[in-house]
């Protein structure tokens, strides 16, 4: 029986003898593999980016948002109507007996604000909240300080601004201590936040943070001054996050006197957000990867086509090899190995192309195209598999050729 190394050597010699055709055949597999790797890489890159953005929002965070669920009675709340969440909800959740696994609560309200400083004017998002906001959202103050609980209690006209807002409003000198006007109301800037970059919820560096009481008294446009647009809570640790989630949900259902079926709010954890985002990008990746995989299938059909042509062209050679003692199994293996090598070479070059394009795209898109080693190995195995599967039919045709028919053909 012919050895493997001899089979591979013969296959490479046969492919080499028809170099141009082998290259063109490989092109189909090559493009397919590169396309699949890139789409999957883009999808995984997007997933990583979204996950890291969500994680940068804070740690062990629980978010309560008002929801406008429909009930049998029609729409709950109207467009622009007061939120179903209030500062009372936040106060209740801060109670250790109600939610023992919650360590910090930060109700927030926000509105768009026209800002004016001595230097310039700017428009930004104005957020009313409490000192815990800093911990819950995992932010830091770069210069100056954050406002205190005492300042919240006294509705002090103080503001902490984002780094980008600071640079837009103040062209020179420190913003701390300066006075700005927000929608016509005067506030003293007491601190500037450290940069956090932009996230899917907007630019985290272009914002103005004021005490919740000051927001309610001077800036709120809501019909109910007590309403808040969302409540951010921080769980004690990752292990008790789901317990904290349950405590928050149960407490709010009880105080709103609703069942979970017609709840007028929704509670989600960071983990749930990550999961949702992951499943969305996962579906997108699968969809795009699937489309790219069709090109791989077409490439495989190309390999089969060429192998069939090759078998009918080499009828004499096959006949001779059989006359000299090649068994049908040896002939079959010969053609399978040829098809496998075509597939695998296409795969290797395709992977190289995918990696090269990923390296070029990453700086252009400012976005990591994540191509993992397991994905690369799978791509390689798939290309080899496609080659072999595409080779099965041509190889069995070759194996079945009767030696006398094969030798007779001129």
């Amino acid at each position: 029986m012919m050895g493997w190394s001899e089979t591979v050597r013969t296959a490479i010699a046969a492919l080499n003898a028809r170099r141009m055709r082998s290259l063109l055949t490989m092109l189909g597999i090559l493009i397919g593999i590169a396309a699949v790797m890139l789409t999957v890489g883009l999808g995984q890159g997007a997933q990583q980016q979204i996950t890291s953005q969500i994680n940068s929002l804070g740690s062990n965070m629980i978010i309560v948002t008002p929801s406008q669920t429909t009930t049998s009675g029609g729409f709950r709340g109207g467009g622009g109507a007061a939120s179903t969440l209030t500062t009372q909800d936040a106060v209740m959740l801060a109670d250790k007996t109600v939610a023992p696994d919650v360590v910090a609560v930060a109700p927030t309200s926000s509105t768009s604000g026209s800002l004016q400083s001595t230097d310039s004017t700017w428009t930004s998002t104005v957020v009313g909240t409490v000192p815990d906001w800093l911990n819950v959202r995992a932010r830091e103050v770069d210069s100056g300080r954050f406002f205190t609980t005492a300042e919240v209690n006294s509705s002090a006209a103080v503001a902490v601004i984002g780094s980008e807002t600071a640079s837009e409003l103040f062209t020179s000198g420190s913003p701390v201590g300066q006075t700005i006007s927000i929608n016509g109301q005067s506030f003293t800037v007491i601190g500037v936040l450290a940069s956090a970059g932009s996230s899917m919820t907007g630019n985290e560096d272009d914002t103005v943070i004021v005490p919740s009481t000051s927001f309610a008294a001077r800036l709120s446009t809501s019909s109910n001054a007590n309403s808040v647009s969302s409540i951010y809570l921080q769980g004690k640790d990752a292990d008790s996050l789901s317990a904290a989630y349950q405590q928050v949900k149960t407490a709010l259902l009880a105080s709103h006197q609703v069942t979970s079926d017609d709840a007028d709010f929704s509670v989600s954890t960071q983990a749930a957000l990550v999961e949702t985002a992951t499943s969305i990008t996962g579906i997108l990746t699968l969809l795009l990867g699937g489309i790219a995989a069709i090109s791989l299938l077409v490439g495989g059909i190309g390999v089969m086509n060429i192998m069939l042509v090759s078998v009918s062209e080499r009828v004499r050679e096959i006949g001779l090899r059989k006359a000299l003692g090649a068994t049908p199994a040896v002939i079959r293996r010969q053609f399978l190995v040829e098809a496998g090598i075509l597939g695998m070479l296409g795969g290797i070059v395709g992977i190289a192309l995918g990696l090269a394009v990923a390296a070029i795209l990453t700086p252009i898109l400012n976005f990591t195209v994540a191509i993992s080693i397991p994905a690369t190995l799978i791509a390689l195995a798939v290309s080899l598999g496609i080659g072999i599967v595409a080779g099965v039919y041509p190889a069995s045709r070759a194996a079945k050729l009767a030696p006398i028919d094969a030798l007779r053909s001129e």
Binding site: E6, A17, A323, L324, P328, L407
Partner: protein, 232 residues
């Protein structure tokens, strides 16, 4: 002494659509070790069919065929391939060398399928090429060799496995008179050294170089008495 090749009432029938053709209608033939037999016949006589069956490229429809003591009449394709590999050395009219391989690699081919290790293959191929006088041409491809040289490469390929039988199918059909003489001299030399040869030909002067010959007409053999006969 048992015959090297023995056929008893071998028949071959081809069914092509509605017509059935009786290509061989009961062949009895014995060839002994050291024989040099020419099988002659006009085209359509069943000559090629007989060659295919002798060469184990095809199996008879009926009858018994033994080669070197092995009954090959009802073997599977795989078993036939192994018998061809070990027992028969083919020399074809159109040489049938693989154009992409050197003379040496062409000669090695039967040994590749026999699973002989590379070093031993090289050695035996070189020895066979030396025997046919082509030691200087081992690295040439068929396209770089004359017709006579190509046929000598294929004779070397037929000899390299040290087969029980060399089966030559019109070996001089594509050669000029000079190369024909060379190849026939080579066969005579091999036969003198004890090699068993069966040669299919339609040329009387080529057949005359064999030590015996038979004619085939309409699927039946007719004995000639040229030399020390086939029915020894």
């Amino acid at each position: 002494m048992n015959p090297m090749l023995s056929m008893a009432d071998v028949r071959k029938t081809y069914a092509t659509g509605v017509v059935t053709v009786d290509a061989l209608r009961g062949i009895d033939l014995e060839v002994y070790a050291g024989d040099y037999l020419a099988i002659m016949g006009p085209s359509g006589s069943g000559k090629s069919t007989l060659m295919h069956i002798i060469g184990c490229l095809d199996v008879p429809t009926a009858g018994r065929y033994e080669l070197d003591g092995i009954d090959v009449s009802s073997m599977s394709e795989k078993q036939l391939a192994e018998v061809r590999n070990r027992k028969i050395g083919f020399v074809f009219q159109s040489f049938n060398l693989l154009p992409s391989l050197t003379a040496q690699r062409n000669v090695e081919l039967p040994l590749v399928y026999a699973g002989v290790p590379a070093a031993e293959r090289r050695e035996r191929a070189l020895a066979a090429l030396t025997k046919v006088g082509l030691a200087e041409r081992v690295d040439h491809r068929p396209g770089e060799l004359s017709g006579g040289q190509q046929q000598r490469v294929s004779v070397a390929r037929a000899l390299v496995t040290n087969p029980a039988l060399v089966l030559a199918d019109e070996p001089t059909g594509n050669l000029d008179s000079h190369s024909t003489a060379e190849i026939l001299d080579l066969f005579a030399e091999l036969n003198d050294a004890g090699r068993t040869i069966v040669m299919i030909t339609h040329e009387a002067d080529v057949a005359a170089r064999a030590t015996s010959s038979v004619h085939i007409y309409d699927g039946l053999l007719r004995q000639d008495a040229i030399g020390a006969g086939a029915a020894k």
